[in-house]
């Protein structure tokens, strides 16, 4: 498991806002993650959450992603998960949410996702 420090960054890639998460998403940090995901919708463009660098996620982190999904639907903005790590995929599968989210391989695909 990564000992990486938790970090959240935001950037524009091909007309989409990408929130890039690094580290372990648990209760100590999930409120900030939630805020960052919801704030990303302010630009009015598709939103992606890059999870390639996330070594651990618990239900509080998953809940933040679910909120993003719901907000995207309410506002008519696309919302996708980008390249989730194996650890994240395992928890999504366990929560039976792996087919609820749109999952893409790269940030560039978020703006193009249909």
């Amino acid at each position: 498991m990564s000992a990486n420090a938790n970090a959240v960054t935001r950037q524009r890639v091909d007309g989409a806002t990408i929130v890039c998460l690094q580290g372990e998403v648990d209760l100590s940090w999930s409120q900030q993650v939630r805020r960052a995901v919801l704030d990303a919708f302010a630009d009015g463009v598709p939103v992606g959450v890059d999870l390639a660098g996330v070594g651990y996620i618990d239900s509080s982190g998953i809940a933040a992603l679910v909120e993003g999904l719901q907000l995207g639907r309410a506002r008519g903005q696309r919302f996708a998960l980008v390249a989730p790590s194996d650890a994240v995929r395992a928890v999504l599968e366990l929560a039976r949410l792996d087919r609820v989210f749109t999952i893409v391989d790269s940030a560039a695909a978020v703006g193009a996702a249909t």
Partner: protein
């Protein structure tokens, strides 16, 4: 078949007299019949008769090389003289030379060629005028020779005849080689089946593990398919327990078979309740009668009471018996020779009080294990290992010992017998920690838990799920148990009992009504509900109860671990 191309090839290799017979059609048909043949010998007999007529020769013979004796033997023949069964050395005659040189031999005029072996003609009265021998080639070298003798039109053989014979030889070689390989494969499979059966039979001789407070425990790890080690224990009518452990010199199937004989012999003598020294002496006489040359048996035999207070034993050439009692380790060296070597050998009995201590007997595989420096760890290395695990229950101790030895390099069969007063099987503590119920303590907890599960060799995916379950349970306490303002302690424990993993999360928060603590539907994805749903999915069962201290809650998560169950089954 009537396309012009085959005709062109046939023209190139065949003389005018055979042009019209369609050499390629004949060869294709021959190859096919050889390839699909189920009974190669019969097919070959028919095939060479057809080849003889096709080539318009008087005689034809097919020789195969016996790889072991390096003799060529005629397998099938067709012609005026039956040469089936004729044997030639490699290099003998034209047939032998074709094989030795792996090259086609043409003899235009046999009467004037000194290489021709005349033994056959002299015996039969047949006159060999001209002959061609072509090797049967495979990737691994020639496996035989095909020979044609005397053209029917009386002309000497030419290079074109030789080329045609080579074309016939190719599919014949392929078919014979395939048939041989298929035969070898069948033989290998048969041997493997028999070996599997022998291994199962051998394993079935080992006693089943007793769980009802029995003081004797054994394990055996064969280094190869068959083991030369054995152990056994049995109850006598007076309530005492007989035990034995042994090791056959040498390896392989005959050692394994002797092991079966020695094991049953020692068991039956032991049931007669002879004193340990007499027990060994009797077995020695029997084995001197029957053990094959160079094979012998090292063994320790003895008795103990069910409470393992007293033990008496005798040793025949076996590695030292180790007794750990009152903080001291003592070694008891063998005082008799191995069994099956000298008649009327004498053995000495040791009788001692175990007093809550432990007796270890082990085959030399345990000390011959190679350490990181490549040298055997020896008695000192084994003692250090035993010492390291001395606190564990006997079963867990043997498991850890074997595990450590296996991580080093097992070079020989390894067998342990352990005698110690049985205790009630108590759970093995895998992890225990106490921390403040704060979100920022979770990362450290997860790291430690992963390490604890890794020590138990849990598969990574399962390990991560279990860590998630504990994290979700703790998070629940942090969010809902203590509430946002006040903090309290959190205790996490992981224990193993047989194949059951129990995870406990204990808090000092106000008591929770268990009825309110249930998984939410995943569809609605309430945060707290999702965490409990994950726990529900990961664990076999869980419940919440008031903590034993009377203050707080104890959440108990349980899961049956498949890998541990098969480990247990393997040990029993």
């Amino acid at each position: 078949m009537n396309s012009p191309q085959p005709e062109r090839i046939a023209t190139a290799v065949v003389e005018p007299r055979r042009r019209d017979t369609g050499a390629l059609v004949f060869l294709a048909d021959l190859s096919r019949s050889l390839a699909v043949s189920l009974d190669l010998r019969q097919t070959l007999t028919q095939a060479i008769t057809r080849v003889r007529d096709f080539l318009e020769v008087e005689g034809i013979a097919l020789f195969l090389l016996d790889p072991a004796s390096q003799v060529l033997e005629c397998q099938v023949s067709a012609g005026p003289i039956d040469v089936t069964g004729m044997r030639l050395a490699v290099g003998q005659g034209i047939v032998g030379q074709a094989l030795a040189q792996d090259a086609t031999q043409i003899v235009a005029d046999a009467g004037s060629d000194a290489r021709v072996w005349r033994g056959s003609d002299e015996a039969s009265g047949f006159v060999t005028r001209s002959l061609v021998c072509a090797p049967l080639r495979t990737a691994a070298g020639p496996i035989g020779v095909i020979e044609i003798v005397n053209r029917r039109d009386g002309a000497p053989f030419t290079a074109a005849d030789a080329e045609l014979l080579e074309l016939v030889a190719a599919p014949a070689a392929l078919a014979i080689n395939n048939a041989r390989m298929a035969g070898e494969l069948l033989e290998q499979q048969r041997l493997k089946r028999e070996l599997d059966l022998a291994r199962h039979l051998q394993k079935s001789l080992l006693p089943r593990r007793r769980r009802d407070g029995f003081p004797v425990l054994g394990v055996n790890r064969p280094a190869h398919e068959m083991s030369g080690d054995f152990y056994d224990y049995f109850e006598l009518t007076d309530g005492s327990i007989g035990f034995l452990i042994g090791d056959i010199s040498g390896k392989g199937l005959d050692a394994a078979l002797l092991m079966m004989r020695a094991a049953s012999l020692l068991r039956w003598i032991g049931k007669e309740r002879l004193a340990p020294a007499a027990w060994l002496a009797r077995a020695n006489e029997e084995l001197c009668d029957s053990a094959r040359e160079g094979r012998f048996v090292c063994a320790v035999v003895g008795y103990c009471d069910r409470a393992a207070r007293h033990v008496r034993f005798a040793s025949a050439g076996f590695p030292p018996v180790l007794v750990h009692s009152g903080g001291q380790y003592r070694q008891y060296l063998a005082d008799g020779p191995p069994l099956g070597i000298v008649r009327e050998a004498q053995f000495t009995e040791h009788a001692l009080a175990l007093d809550g201590g432990t007796l270890y007997a082990f085959s030399d595989g345990a000390t011959d294990v190679r350490g990181s420096d490549g040298k055997p760890i020896g008695m000192a290395g084994l003692l250090a290992l035993i010492q390291r695990h001395a606190q564990a229950t006997p079963k867990a101790r043997l498991r850890s010992l074997l595990g450590e030895l296996r991580r080093l390099h097992l070079v020989d069969d390894t067998t342990f017998l352990l005698i110690e007063a049985a205790q009630v099987e108590r759970p093995q503590l895998l992890f225990s920690d106490r921390m403040p119920a704060r979100a920022d303590a979770m990362r450290g907890l997860r790291t430690q838990l992963r390490a604890a599960f890794d020590r138990e060799a849990l598969e990574p995916r399962l390990r991560d799920e279990l860590v998630l379950a504990v994290d979700e349970a703790c998070t629940n306490v942090i969010r809902h148990g203590y509430g946002p303002a006040c903090e309290g302690p959190l205790e996490v424990r992981a224990t193993r009992c047989a194949a059951m993993l129990t995870l406990e999360i204990i808090d000092e928060a106000p008591a929770i009504d268990p009825a309110t603590f249930k998984p939410g539907t995943l569809g609605e994805c309430r945060c707290g509900g999702l965490g409990i749903a994950l726990i529900d999915r990961i664990m076999d069962d869980w419940h919440i109860e008031p903590a034993e201290t009377g203050r707080g809650n104890r959440l108990v998560l349980r899961k049956h671990i498949e890998a541990w169950a098969s480990e247990e089954a393997e040990e029993s």
